[in-house]
């Protein structure tokens, strides 16, 4: 039996993989390393609404070049709709119109924003002060007292805003603040109070940029003016200043989304950050969607974010192959460690390890009881699944109560896989004792941790996402490993007694 075709395939895969990667590096100027690059955010807004059947008009606020970000290109996808970009009192907006629309409607707007710390915002006019604020009793007294209290402890509009907002935070909420919050929403209320005190302010909406997030919504911020300067305040904490990852989406004090002729309208955002050479980032306008541009980077953003993770799975699987074929580590369930490692990416390592051990340990105790109930296998595993969900819920609530938000990420664990792990470990415990459970459980965890370290490495993430050729190289490597007939590392220890005589 000739092995020639095998080596031919491996060779072809290697050559094709290397060639594709080099092509992408040269042609698209994608760097080999993730560092020293300009960061470009690709943000996609998806507007959903249910049309009434008649004419529909959708008006969406758009971001403009601002402090920290420069808008590069924008695209929309909205078949059947007319589109106009409007400039309205300091804000850019997109207006989609159609004569007839029925049922579920989806409109897309995507924008590339370059992270540019040097970018400056054009001067913004402060909004006119509203003089027509009328409070009903007893809110008028409460409002007056809150303003007076903050006024007396501040020196200028900014410190006044800070004092005012802090008075509304959880920790320092007074009786007046609580009363006002029963009647008004936090952000509009704060703007109203600031206006009442003669400080120009408005509510703006910003998007917190976080790599790979999907279905995000905008958060409200308060923009306070002290002509010619302005400052952003977080209405929840009173913190002053713009977080680095905040992109102001709507900064004219208007509604983000207005829909006429439809109901249930909402807008969700997905985002992705990509490192690109500045030149390519600017040129990206020219890249057209030809058949040759066969790359996942031509997919909608939401799917790209998904692919980022999918493309890492072969790395995790490679770790498993190496550890099993070259080292000889036993794991419980062949690729279970990869799925656990994927969960670790969401939870971070320490939280993930603690969470995993907690869930499995508690699960084993409960599974042990289930074995006395004499159930059919499928029913028993299902019972374990429900138990795992219950454990995860309890841990989430407990950790939230204790103020450990990290504990909430425990929900990222693949529950069915965890249930099977518990089931298998429990049987292993009954048949071969706790030692084997420790060996296999430890082996699985070690594999998961190593897979996590490989998959979470910035360089590897950068390479797998930006160079699809890497996948072919990985394939070739795994084929080669599948052909390895040599000894495993642990066999050197296992068979040692034989060599001693």
């Amino acid at each position: 039996m000739s092995r020639l075709p095998f080596y031919l395939i491996v060779g072809l895969l290697l050559v094709a993989g290397v060639a594709m990667s080099i092509h992408r590096h040269v042609q698209f100027e994608v760097p080999w390393t993730p560092g020293e690059q300009r960061q470009v955010w690709e943000i996609e807004a998806q507007v959903n609404f249910i049309a009434d059947g008649g004419p529909a008009k959708v008006n969406l606020a758009l971001p403009s070049t601002q402090q920290g970000y420069r808008i590069l290109t924008e695209h929309t996808a909205s078949p059947g709709y007319g589109l106009a970009f409007l400039e309205e009192n300091g804000g850019r907006r997109a207006e989609w119109t159609t004569r007839q629309a029925t049922g579920d409607q989806q409109l897309y707007y995507s924008v590339q924003a370059l992270v540019a710390p040097s970018s400056r915002q054009p001067l913004i006019e402060p909004p006119p002060l509203r003089r027509d604020i009328v409070w009903e009793s007893p809110y008028d007294t409460a409002a007056r007292q809150v303003i007076e209290r903050a006024w007396s402890r501040s020196a200028d509009p900014f410190s006044f805003a800070r004092e005012l907002i802090t008075d509304f935070t959880e920790a320092r909420q007074g009786e007046n603040a609580r009363l006002l919050l029963t009647q008004f929403d936090r952000s509009p209320l704060l703007v109203r109070l600031l206006n009442q005190a003669g400080v120009p302010a408005r509510e703006v909406s910003g998007l917190l940029l976080e790599h790979g997030r999907r279905r995000q919504s905008l958060t409200p911020w308060i923009q306070v003016f002290d002509d010619p300067e302005w400052m952003l305040f977080d209405p929840r904490t009173g913190e002053r200043g713009r977080p680095d990852n905040l992109l102001l989406w709507e900064s004219a004090g208007h509604a983000v989304l207005e829909v006429e002729g439809g109901s249930n309208s909402r807008v969700g955002f997905s985002m992705l950050s990509r490192n690109q050479p500045a030149a390519a980032a600017v040129r990206s306008e020219l890249a057209d969607d030809t058949l040759l541009n066969f790359s996942i980077h031509s997919l909608p953003l939401e799917d790209q974010a998904l692919f980022q993770t999918i493309l890492l799975i072969p790395i995790g699987a490679l770790m498993v192959v190496i550890l099993r074929v070259l080292v000889g580590i036993k794991t419980s369930g062949t690729f279970m460690p990869v799925l656990i490692a994927l969960a670790f990416i969401q939870t971070t390592l320490i939280t993930g390890l603690i969470g995993f051990l907690l869930v499995v340990a508690v699960g084993l105790v409960i599974r042990n009881y289930l074995s006395y109930l004499n159930l059919l296998l499928v029913a028993r595993v299902t019972a374990v699944i429900i138990t795992v969900i219950a454990i995860i819920s309890v841990f989430s609530v407990l950790s939230y109560r204790f103020g450990l938000n990290a504990g909430l990420t425990i929900t990222f664990f693949p529950m069915i896989i965890l249930s099977w792990t518990i089931e298998r470990m429990s049987i292993l415990w009954e048949e071969e004792g706790p030692k084997q459970v420790l060996i296999q459980g430890g082996g699985s965890l070690l594999t998961a941790v190593l897979a996590y370290l490989a998959m979470n490495n910035p360089l590897i993430r950068h390479l797998t996402f930006n160079f699809l050729g890497i996948q072919l190289i990985l394939m070739a490597l795994i084929l080669l490993l599948g052909n390895y007939t040599g000894y495993r590392l642990l066999e050197l220890r296992r068979f040692k007694p034989v060599t001693e005589d």
């Binding site: 040599g486 050197l492 068979f495 007694p497």
Partner: protein, 320 residues
């Protein structure tokens, strides 16, 4: 603690990867696996080829069939319940005798009928089968093992594993259950493996937990005098399994019954490598020699060939 690949290679040790690719992958055709993975099929096939196996009391194939278990067992003192598709000795329940409705394991642990039924139910749900697929439970008569071995075993039945390569018996070992292995004959669970000389059926060397041993850890009996009677018949039965299954790299598990002589217990298409430890010798030189032999040789000739070329003298006598 560690040795080097070159020393293992010099000893002719076959590693897991080599076993999987070079022998199992090459000589064991996937479509033949069901013959050995399903013990019921193996049993029926063995009967066709005139290879003796333990008597079948009955099978349970459905969950409601478990109710008939009790009537099925009437008149049988001891019995063994096995999953047809189990692996690595998993799910095998040995009941030595029934006393007043209590089912007594060789270890003395007493079970109720409910416990036994639950075990059968677990087998049917596929708890012990490869890949968790639904399974069938076999109930076999207890083997009355040869009294000459009672000094060498703790609770369980000692069985003899012979690796048959292309129909030639290449290496053999006896597996003696111990307290550590809970009466099971699996080396990784702590059973003692005794390398057996292919030529004579005499013990060569013993290991437990991969370390050399000269006596049985529980009975204290020395292993040097271990000698398997009827050895030639046993080897011929093992060699005949090649024609029966068509599998080129095969682990045959045999037992010696007091009344029926050597019997085939089960076959394994992925036999483990611990046999090399028990024999203190690598499989590779023997496998290489067999690979150079022509096809179409009768089982008797193959056994004679193996007994001539693979003869070894015991290492135990010198120290005993």
């Amino acid at each position: 603690m560690w040795t080097t690949p070159s020393r293992l290679h010099a000893k002719g040790i076959v590693g897991m990867n080599r076993r999987n690719i070079r022998y199992i992958g090459r000589y064991n055709s996937r479509r033949l696996y069901p013959l050995v993975d399903d013990k019921l099929k193996t049993k029926l096939l063995a009967q066709q080829y005139g290879i003796t196996t333990p008597a079948l009391i009955g099978t349970v194939t459905t969950q409601f069939g478990i109710k008939q278990l009790c009537t099925m067992l009437i008149g049988h003192q001891g019995f063994v319940i096995k999953p047809a598709k189990g692996s690595g000795g998993k799910g095998i329940l040995v009941i030595e005798r029934i006393e007043g409705g209590r089912y007594i394991k060789p270890s003395g642990v007493q079970l109720t009928l409910g416990d036994v039924e639950r075990h059968v139910s677990n087998i049917l749900s596929g708890l012990y089968s490869l890949g968790g697929s639904p399974d069938v439970a076999l109930i076999e008569a207890l083997i009355n093992f040869d009294a000459s071995f009672s000094e060498y075993t703790y609770e369980g039945v000692p069985d003899i594993r012979v690796i048959v390569f292309k129909g030639y018996p290449v290496m053999a070992m006896m597996r003696l259950s111990t307290a550590a292995s809970d009466g099971k004959a699996n080396l990784h669970q702590g059973a003692v493996g005794v390398g057996i000389d292919i030529a004579s059926g005499a013990a060569i060397r013993g290991v437990q937990f991969d370390r050399t041993r000269h006596d049985h850890p529980d009975t204290g009996h020395e292993l040097a005098s271990l000698h398997i009677s009827d050895w030639d018949t046993l080897l011929r039965l093992a060699a005949g399994c090649f024609e029966m299954t068509g599998l080129g790299y095969l682990g045959t598990d045999m037992v010696l019954d007091r009344d029926h002589g050597p019997m085939l217990l089960e076959l394994n298409a992925r036999p483990g490598l611990a046999i090399q430890m028990a024999n203190g010798e690598g499989l590779r030189p023997r496998l290489d020699l067999i690979e150079r032999q022509p096809e179409g040789v009768s089982p008797e000739q193959r056994v004679a060939f193996a007994q001539h070329y693979f003869a070894r003298s015991s290492e135990l006598r010198e120290t005993a």
